[in-house]
């Protein structure tokens, strides 16, 4: 294989310092708001941080009811932000549970700690990218999960990772901006890497479990939100899908 230059991606996401990207990000992202988000469990509550009247281009938040309009790129990103919040909160609970060191091997702990890190990165990234257009911090409902039980954790992890892959695959068709599509693509393949690893741990590394189909599912947003709804206190509705 030849050595080559780093990806130029000139028609995709411009690299660091790209002027247009910088200007756009400066307008879109409320960076200061996101600093210090930290690794604390996702417990920012369901209070509305964004008044619907402030801008037309943001999710409609009415108490605990959030409406995501898939005709707007911003809300497709909010959809991703919601799912990443859920995943990050889940893995934070997993790795901070008192039983974590007892029920998982050192190898499994490394994997789960990495997944926690990656999902926190995704969550913080979308929060920063959305700035004031971001939906509020969601309140997870993990009452159906026994965090001290290995199988409960791993099977939920598999569900979340496979759901995440299917969610991104199904949401891509709504994205209008190229750079948003590309960044979704940068993340979905990492979710797929996670899904494969968790499936291996749960079902056997030397089996075909890591990729059960030649084509992954692409699920419509309402179906994904329905699957996720029992894990989120707020009610999230997709429109214009």
């Amino acid at each position: 294989m030849n050595s080559s230059q780093e990806p130029s991606s000139e028609n995709l996401t411009s690299g660091p310092g790209g002027r247009r990207e910088f200007l756009r990000a400066a307008g879109l992202a409320g960076l200061a708001l996101s600093v210090g988000t930290g690794l604390s469990a996702c417990s920012e509550g369901g209070n509305s941080l964004v008044a619907p009247s402030l801008t037309a281009r943001r999710a409609i938040v009415n108490g605990n009811n959030i409406t995501l309009d898939f005709s707007m790129d911003i809300d497709v990103l909010n959809y991703a932000y919601a799912l990443e919040q859920l995943e990050a909160a889940f893995y934070i609970n997993v790795v901070t549970n008192a039983s974590f060191g007892a029920i998982f091997s050192a190898n499994e702990q490394r994997i789960l700690n990495d997944l926690r890190d990656h999902e926190v990165v995704h969550r913080d990234f979308f929060k920063a990218a959305l700035g004031t257009a971001a939906i509020p911090g969601l309140t997870p409902n993990f009452s159906s999960i026994t965090f001290s039980d290995r199988m409960s954790v791993l099977s939920t992890a598999q569900t979340f990772e496979d759901l995440g892959v299917a969610a991104y695959n199904g949401a891509a068709q709504y994205i209008k901006r190229q750079d948003y599509l590309t960044v979704a693509g940068k993340i979905v393949s990492v979710e797929a890497r996670h899904a494969a690893a968790i499936r291996g741990v749960l079902n056997g590394n030397r089996t075909g479990s890591f990729a059960p189909q030649a084509f992954d599912p692409a699920l419509p947003p309402p179906q994904v939100l329905s699957s996720a709804s029992s894990f989120i206190m707020q009610s999230i509705t997709a429109i214009n899908t």
């Binding site: 930290g38 890190d117 990165v121 695959n169 891509a172 089996t207």
Partner: protein
């Protein structure tokens, strides 16, 4: 296969002129003979696997109404087809060669069958515009069969390393083409490509972990890519740019407490067609 017949007719009736593309340039100077073994295995496997995702079915029905696929879509699908030919024939040979130990066979037959299904899908979608397979030299010797991976089918470590490079390249290749497919009004084809893209990422994760005997160890033997690190000789181009931490103009280390190393793991990076073709060029006769 009856459901696909009208599509073929529609495409046959359309303008046969193929747009010049990077793929054409890369392949036209090579022998363009279809590999008989790969092609027939491909069709048989597609029949056996049978299922076509909903998104693909939607694409097929819409394609019937189109006079032709846009040139940009043909270009992307033929680009992807070259990679899928490469991967499918690599695993067909690898599985048949005896290089894979029995304990690991299910991993590679699974991947092989997926790549064969991808070839079959792309060939169906392209119809008469599907390009034939190049002839491959999996030693990366440009046809000498004595390239840097000369022992690829006799040394399991080499086989796994090349497999990882192919899978991680495939992920980056599909990712890089998503914006081109986004421009086509029929989004089902974008969705279909993405449902392949994430499967390639699953493959990559599995092979990376297998190379570490499922002792997940940073930076080489985890399912994800740390910085642009790799321990595959000659594969630096496969991982170039994977250490990027700026996305949508946001310098991610400034907005999260997670370390930069893990940030690079959390995002995979695209490659352009030219970058991908430079990577696979030594494997094409």
């Amino acid at each position: 296969m009856n459901t696909h017949k009208p599509i073929l007719h529609a495409l046959e009736a359309s303008d046969p002129q193929l747009t010049e593309s990077l793929v054409d340039h890369a392949i036209s100077r090579r022998s363009a003979l279809m590999k008989g073994a790969g092609a027939s295995a491909s069709l048989g496997m597609a029949m056996r696997l049978g299922s076509v995702p909903v998104a693909l079915a939607a694409f097929a029905s819409d394609a019937f109404g189109q006079s032709r696929l846009p040139a940009v879509v043909n270009n992307v699908l033929n680009f992807a087809l070259v990679l899928e030919y490469l991967e499918s024939q690599f695993y067909i040979r690898g599985v048949a060669s005896g290089v894979v130990p029995p304990a690991d066979m299910e991993i590679f037959t699974t991947i092989r069958d997926h790549e064969i299904a991808h070839v079959a899908y792309l060939r169906d979608a392209l119809g008469p515009r599907a390009r034939p397979s190049p002839t491959f030299d999996f030693t990366a010797g440009n046809g000498s069969n004595n390239g840097p991976y000369a022992d690829v089918f006799t040394n399991y470590a080499t086989f796994k390393a090349v497999a990882q490079a192919f899978e991680d390249t495939g992920v980056r290749a599909y990712k890089g083409q998503a914006p081109a497919l986004q421009s086509y009004s029929n989004k089902a084809i974008l969705t279909a490509a993405l449902t392949i893209h994430s499967v390639e990422a699953r493959h990559a994760s599995e092979i990376r972990r297998l190379r570490g005997d499922f002792t997940d160890t940073e930076p080489f033997y985890e399912g994800w890519i740390t910085e642009s690190r790799n321990n595959i000789p000659g594969a630096d181009a496969v991982y170039a740019g994977e250490d990027n931490v700026v996305h949508l103009g946001i310098n991610v280390p400034s907005i999260t407490p997670v370390s930069s190393k893990e940030i690079t793991e959390a995002f995979d990076e695209p490659l352009t067609q030219a970058q991908v073709l430079a990577i696979v060029d030594p494997f094409i006769v």
